[in-house]
Symmetry: C2
Subunit: 206 residues, 2 copies
DNA sequence: CAATAATTTGGTTAATCGATCAAATCATTT
DNA sequence: AAATGATTTGATCGATTAACCAAATTATTG
């Protein structure tokens, strides 16, 4: 099983180069979008030759996949670190919402790059990433559902469909990334506060 | 001001041909996505030559813009027709949520085509459509905000930030289009019911 | 220092794309 | 049926792209 496809040990310099290329890819995606983010453009941003990208990544899909996992991992870390400092389900829910909005506010270019990949990249079978049932557990979705379940078990929260409630919360959060009119009209803290109050009314027992 | 850019009178056959091309574009976008939806592929779907598309539309952007307005108009009609039969803000909100989810459930191909355009098309200045503050009033967003305002004025609803609440509702609805795991786990009627109950708890005075 | 492996480059290639044009066909009017 | 304008086609052009390769350069090891 010693295939060359799995991530074997990479040299230090190789990892540094890969990180540099990913960084250039993120910036390029943010600035000119996936369609125009050709190997040549990414190479120019990194000030290297295009062939060097091909040397470190199998092809463009490989680069984009790796960039996507880095972006998802970065966002997950940020949010999960902050939810895990809270103790009660009620406080964890607040931390989850506030951290998610804050991440969007602090690293908008990361989210733009994320969106560009998710809505452009496709599998070998031409299935778009945004249509994929992420078989792998999405840690952010799992965390939110666990918070809601814990809240119900501890009788802090009332009765509701956990999957539906979690989806509504995620949708409300994501709306802040996509809707520029919203983004430009309400600052992140205010929107966080509104969402927390809104969903407290929806989940808390009266 | 008699420019040729505005939609002058089109002949009957020209309108029919444009509608046929738009239909082929929607099917192509749904089936293979924007990136692979070349003029050649759309022409093949419509069983016409590529040059005929160029004859009826200025360029590919023109075709995609026109297709987008048709899709938005179709969705708006569907939802607005159903909200306007309800009378009280409370019932209008229910109708709005149910109609929005039902539209997604009934015409998934239309929503896929819509997504493909919004997340791929860009202006001449390379600004992606999904980043545009739609200067033009979005009738669906306006309607929802008006429902919420009316509910507060009639004291049916309590106090909350209307823009934030409207965004949360829209985000929760849109989540049903984007999240395949949600889509595959909960049927549209059930999700509608959950959302209605959820947002009733959030907006109604106690 | 010699040799070997890893890294990097410039240049090439084949494929695909949107757009354009002259010519062909069809419909309408005179 | 002749003439005119609208519609449609096939063919072609220039531009862009991802991928590839042989050669050059740099780092590592014996």
């Amino acid at each position: 099983m010693r295939t060359k496809k799995t991530d074997e040990k990479k040299s230090f310099i190789s990892e540094a180069r890969r990180a540099q290329i990913v960084d250039a890819a993120i910036k390029t995606l943010d600035e000119i979008g996936y369609i125009h983010a050709s190997m040549a453009q990414i190479a120019k941003k990194a000030e290297i030759s295009t062939a060097l990208i091909s040397y470190h990544f199998k092809d463009k899909n490989d680069l984009m996949d790796y960039t996507l996992t880095q972006l998802l991992s970065d966002m997950s870390s940020y949010v999960l670190e902050r939810t895990q400092t809270a103790t009660t389900p009620r406080d964890k829910l607040r931390a989850y919402i506030e951290a998610s909005i804050a991440y969007h506010a602090n690293k908008p270019e990361y989210n733009i790059a994320l969106i560009e990949i998710v809505f452009h990249a496709r599998t070998a079978n031409n299935v778009p990433y945004y249509k994929l049932d992420d078989d792998e557990e999405n840690p952010l979705e799992s965390e939110l559902q666990q918070i809601l379940v814990a809240g119900q078990e501890k009788k802090e929260f009332g009765k509701f469909n956990v999957l539906a409630m979690a989806s509504a919360i995620r949708g409300a959060i994501d709306e802040y990334i996509f809707n520029r009119k919203l983004n430009g009209s309400i600052d992140p803290q205010s929107y966080s506060t509104e969402l927390v109050n809104l969903f407290y009314r929806a989940v808390l027992r009266e």
